[in-house]
Symmetry: C2
Subunit: 698 residues, 2 copies
Amino acid sequence: MLLRSLLLVLLCVGAHLQGYADDGYRLWLKYDQLADAKLRATWQAQARGIAVEGSSATLQTAARELQLGLQGLLGRPVPVAASGGKGYIQLRVAADPALGKEGYRVVSEKNGLTVTGPSEAAVLYGCFALLRHVQTGQLPTKLNLTSQPRVQYRMLNHWDNPNGTVERGYAGSSIWKWQELPEVIDPRYQDYARANASIGINGVVLNNVNASARYLTDEYVRKVAAVAGVLRPYGIRVYLSVLWAAPRVIGGLPTADPLDPKVKAWWMARTNEIYKAIPDFGGFLVKANSEGEPGPQDYGRTHADGANMLAQSLGTHDGIVMWRAFVYKAGSGDRFKQAYEDFQPLDGKFADKVLVQVKNGPIDFQAREPFHPLFGAMPRTPLVLEVQLTQEYLGFATHLVYLGPLIKECLEADTYAQGKGSTVAKVVDGSLEKHSISAIAGVANIGSDRNWTGHPVGQANWYAYGRLAWDHTLSSEGIADEWTRMTLSREPAAVTAITQVLNQSRNIYVRYTTPLGLHHIMGQNLHYGPEPWLAQSARPDWTAVYYHKADAEGLGFNRTATGSNALALYAPGARQVWMNSTTCPLNYLLWFHHVPWTQQLSTGRTLWNELTTRYYTGADSVLWMQRQWEQAKPALDPALYTDVAARLRVQHREALWWRDACVLYFQSVSKQPLPPGLPAPTRPLTEIKEQVDIYQLR
Amino acid sequence: MLLRSLLLVLLCVGAHLQGYADDGYRLWLKYDQLADAKLRATWQAQARGIAVEGSSATLQTAARELQLGLQGLLGRPVPVAASGGKGYIQLRVAADPALGKEGYRVVSEKNGLTVTGPSEAAVLYGCFALLRHVQTGQLPTKLNLTSQPRVQYRMLNHWDNPNGTVERGYAGSSIWKWQELPEVIDPRYQDYARANASIGINGVVLNNVNASARYLTDEYVRKVAAVAGVLRPYGIRVYLSVLWAAPRVIGGLPTADPLDPKVKAWWMARTNEIYKAIPDFGGFLVKANSEGEPGPQDYGRTHADGANMLAQSLGTHDGIVMWRAFVYKAGSGDRFKQAYEDFQPLDGKFADKVLVQVKNGPIDFQAREPFHPLFGAMPRTPLVLEVQLTQEYLGFATHLVYLGPLIKECLEADTYAQGKGSTVAKVVDGSLEKHSISAIAGVANIGSDRNWTGHPVGQANWYAYGRLAWDHTLSSEGIADEWTRMTLSREPAAVTAITQVLNQSRNIYVRYTTPLGLHHIMGQNLHYGPEPWLAQSARPDWTAVYYHKADAEGLGFNRTATGSNALALYAPGARQVWMNSTTCPLNYLLWFHHVPWTQQLSTGRTLWNELTTRYYTGADSVLWMQRQWEQAKPALDPALYTDVAARLRVQHREALWWRDACVLYFQSVSKQPLPPGLPAPTRPLTEIKEQVDIYQLR
C-alpha cells in the first residue's frame, strides 16, 4: 500500500513537473538533498532546529530562509522556535564593534552553532553564509565564518522602463510589473530579494537611468513602496533614477534649473513625499547631460550644482545621490578624456551625500578597457564603480562570458594615485582616500525569463558581482568554483571542466572580437556582431573607424603625447605601464598606440600576424569550450546541458562571423597576407556586411 | 523505512517546487489526477494502453500527448505500443469522407476506444477531444465524439518584433527568441504547440504585421524553419507577415512596385527559398498602406495588384495570402467607412489564393463594435475574420474580460447580405458565398510570462478563440464552463461563481468604459485608461472628440443619412436595426446617432441619466466580481486566487477612474446634474487628467 502511494506520488510529481525540469529559476539557491549520507548526518546533528530571538521581519526572514535551505539539503524538517536546546542553531542580533554594521559571525559553540551580527540584516547574511557552507559540501567542524562587507552600498542598477522593456536587457521583459502594482505583488519579487540577499546586495535602483518622470509621481511612489515592502525584510533598500527635467515634466514649473528656488522646493517636497511612503528609501541615481538626457548644464550649471541641490532635497533623510560621470559630447576630441575633463575639476565641490558613479573604463563597457582615469583622480569625492552585468557588448545571452575576471581586473588595477598599490578597489571601498561612504553598482542582467538571465551562465555574473561587491579580495576563480558547485554540479570532474571554461571565457571573447586592445567596433545599432567598417554615423564617436584608426600604415588609437594624450590623465605610475608601444601589455596595445602592421610584438609576431592569429585561436577556443561542456554532461541536468550546448553552437558560429569580418576588413586596409597556417575566410566581406545589416533592420 | 522514504520524497518535492505553486504554465492542460476514484477506475479500464498504427511524427505526438494526459488524470502508467489488445485505445488514420480533412471520430468499439480521422492531425485533435472529455469528468459510456472544423485556416497572429517586444502585448516579451535561433530551441515552443493543437489552431503568423524585412532573409528563414520544425508534428504551419518594401530594403531593388518584373521575380525567388527550407510554409500576411506602412498604393497600384502579385509568387506551393483591410487615411471623412471604400470595389479582383482579412468591427478592436460592413459586401472574396485576443483596448492584463461573448456577438451578427440569417459566421466559414477556402485569425495575447497571458483569465480568451475557430456554433457560456473546469476547478459551486463572472465580464467592462455605443475615448498613447477630453492629435481620427462628438446638445456620432451615412454601407436588413435612434439597441446607440442629453431612452431614463447610471453600475459590478471570486476561493489554488483577487482590486480602482473621468468630462459638456442616488466623484477632473498623463509619459 505504501509502495503504491509512493508510486502515485512519483507519478503525480512527474506529471506536475512536466515542463519544469531544472529550468534555472532557483539560481544558485538549489537546496537539493546532499548526496553524501555521512555529511548529511553530521549536519543534521548540528541543525535539529533554529532558535530565533526577536520577531522582526528580517530575523524571521533569516530563520525561514535557513529553514528552507536546511530542510532541502538535509532532507528532513528543521523547526523554527523562539528558543531551543542542544543542536539548535541560534540566530541573534548582538553588538560587535569588529563587524561594522552588516558583518556576521557563524561559530560552533558549546550548545551548537550561533549566527550573530550587529544588525538583523547581518544575521540574515550569516544564515546565507552558513547555507553556502553546507551546500558546497563543507563540514561543521570548528566552524568560524566571519565576514563583513568592504563596501557599504552594494547596488544593482536596473535599466528597466515603465512599459516593461529593459534597455540592454537580454532576458525577456522587466521583472517589475508597473501596470499591475501596487495591488498585484508578483511572487517573483520575493525570490529576487532572496537571491540578492544571499550574496549581500543591499540596494536596487528600480528604473532605467534614461528615466521616466513617472516614478516621482504619487501614483508610482505607491507602486515603488509596494516593491520596497517586499525587499525590506531582505535588507534591501530601493532607489530611483530621476529625470532631471521632472520639475518641468510633472511639476508644472517652467524650468529645472537647480539654483531656482521653486525647483529646489519642488524636489524637497517630492523627496519628503517619497520618504513618507518609503521610510528607508535609499536615494537617487542620475544620468544628466548625457546622450540627450536633460541636466543642469541646460541652465549653465555644473554637475555639482545639480547633485548638491538633489542631496540637499534629501534633508535629514538617510539617503544618497549617485551622479553618473558617463558624459561625452559630440566631436570634442577623444571621447576617452571627456568624463575626466568634465568631472575631475569638480572634485571637492560635491556635497556630503553625493557619490560620483564611474564606469569601469573610459569608453563604455567594452570587453576590455583600461580602468577609468577618474579613479584616483578625485580624492575628495567618493566614487561608485559601475560595472555592467548585462552583456551589452559581450554577446547578449548567447555568448558564455563569465565576468568575474573583468570585474577583478578593474578592481585590482593600480591607479598609482597615492603610490604603488593604490588600486581601484581601494578607491571604491573608501580606504585609500578615507571616505565614510562607499558604493559599487552592477547594471543588472535580470529579466523575466524563467532562468532570470537568458544565458544560464549569466547567473554567474549576478552572483560574482554580489560576492565581489561584498569582498573584492575574493578571487574570481574561487567564486566561479563556488557558483558552479551551488548551481550546476558538485561532481569534481564536471566542476573542473566548467570552471576552466568560466575562467577562460572572457579572454576568449576578447580574442575573437577585440584582441590586442581593439574596442568599439561592434554593430552600431545593436551592440552585437562586428561592424569595424562603420565610418558614418550621427556622431564620429559612434563609428568604429574613430576607435581603431586602421590605415595603410597600421592600427590603433594613439593616445600618447603625440596623439590625443589621454594617457596624461593617469598618474605617472599607471601611465608608465602603457606609454611605450614596445612594452605596453598587448591586451591594451591598441587602446593607446597606433602600431604599424609589420611591427614585431613581444610574441615574436608582427602586429598583423598576432592580430589575425588571435582572431583564429579565439574562434577555435569556442570549440574547446564545447568539448569541456560535453565532458561535464553526465553530471548536468539534461535540459540545462542542452540549452548551454546550443548556445555554444551559436557562439561558435558568431565567433567565426567576428573573425571573418574583422580579418577581411582589416586585411582590406593592411593589404597583408594571412600568416601561414590560417585558412582564408571562405566568404567575402560583402556577404558578412549584409548579414550584419540584417540584424540592424527594424 | 518506506514511510521515511515517502517523507523524504515529499520533502524534496516541497523544496523542489518551492516557488512553483500552480503558476499557470500548464494552461488548460492540467492533467491532475481525477479525484473521483470510481470515475478513475472506469476510465482505467478503457485506457490500459495506447496502440498507434504508423510511426509518423504527428501520430507519435498524438500518442504521447494522450499518454501524458491519461497518466496524469488516471494516476498510473499508460503504455504506448504498436498494437494492443482489449482496453487499449486505438489511434488510426482512416479515410472518412464525412469528416473533411481534419475531423475526428472517437468511439467505443467492441475491443475499446478508437480515435480515427482522415489525417494524422485529425487523430491528434481526436486525442485532445478525448482528453478533454476525461478531464471534465465525463464518462466513457457509449462514447461518440465526432467533430470537424468549420473553418479551414485557424490562425493565431503574433504581433511580435525581432527584438523581443510584442506590439500590444501585456504578458512579457515575445516567446520567440530570434537571437538564439536556430540553435537554441526553447522547450516552451513545444508547450505552445501542444496548447494550440489541443484547441485546433493550425496556423501561426510568427511576426508583427508592422513587419521587419528580416524574416525574409536566409538568415531568418533558418530561424523560422527551426520553429516550424517544432510546430509541424502538432499540425501547425508557420506564416510570415511581410514588409511590402522588402524588395528595396533587403533586395537592393529601386522599387517595390508590384507590377515591376524585377519585383515579381524577387518575390518569386524569395518564396521558393522559403519553401525549400519549410516545405509546409503557410503563406503571407500583409499590412500595406496602413498607418505608415508601405504598400502598392505608393506606386499607384491597388491592394489587389499587390495581393495578386504575392499570390502569384507562391506559384504551385500550397500557400495563401492574407491581405489586411485595416486601412484608413488621415482626415478623409468618417474612418468607419474607409476600409469599405478602399476594398469593396476590389471584390472579384483578387486571385484565388488571396483572402482579405477584416477586423470584427469598422474602427479598431473596441470593447464593442458593430460588425464590419465589409462582411457580406465582398461575396466574391473569402474574408478572414480578425479578432483581438490581446486586450489592447480592454484593460491589458489587469482587467478580467472574457472575450467569448465579444467573438460570438460578431459571428452571430446578421449581415442580411443574402437575406435574414446571413451571419458573419457564414461569411467567414465560406458557406454563405460558397468559397473553397476559409480562415479566421486571433491576435495572440501570448508572451513569455510564466502563465503565458499575464492575467490568468486571459488564457480563457486564447482557449475560447481556438474553440470558436474550430466550431463557431459552440456557445460562449459552454466554453467558459469547459475552460473553468479544465483550468481552475471542477467544484460545482466554484464553477458557477467563476463562469458567472466570465460571462458578465465583457458587458461590465463596456459599462464602466464605453457604455451605450461610445468608442475610442481611451488614452491615446497607451490605449489604456480614459481620455475622452482628447481633442488634439497628429490626426483628427486619433482624438476622442472625433468619435463621441459631445456638445451642448448631446452625444454620439451621427452615421445616419443626415450624418456621415456610414449606415448605408450595410445591407438594408442590418441597417434597419440601427438606423432609428428610438429603436436602435442601446448597446449601439452612440455608434450611429447623436442623441440629445435629455432624450428619453427605452429604459425610461434620459440619455444622460442612462449614461451615468451605466458608468456607476459598471464600476460597482467589479465589486460583485470580487465577491464571486472570493466565493470560489476554497476551490482554487491559493497563489492563483491571490493573483486574480489582486487584479480585481486594480480593476475596481481603474473602473472608478474611468467612471469619474467620463462622468466629469461629459458633465462639463452636458451641464446636467447627476441623477438622484449617484454620489458625485470626490476628485476633480484635473486630478484625473494628471493621472492619465502620468501613464502616457515616456
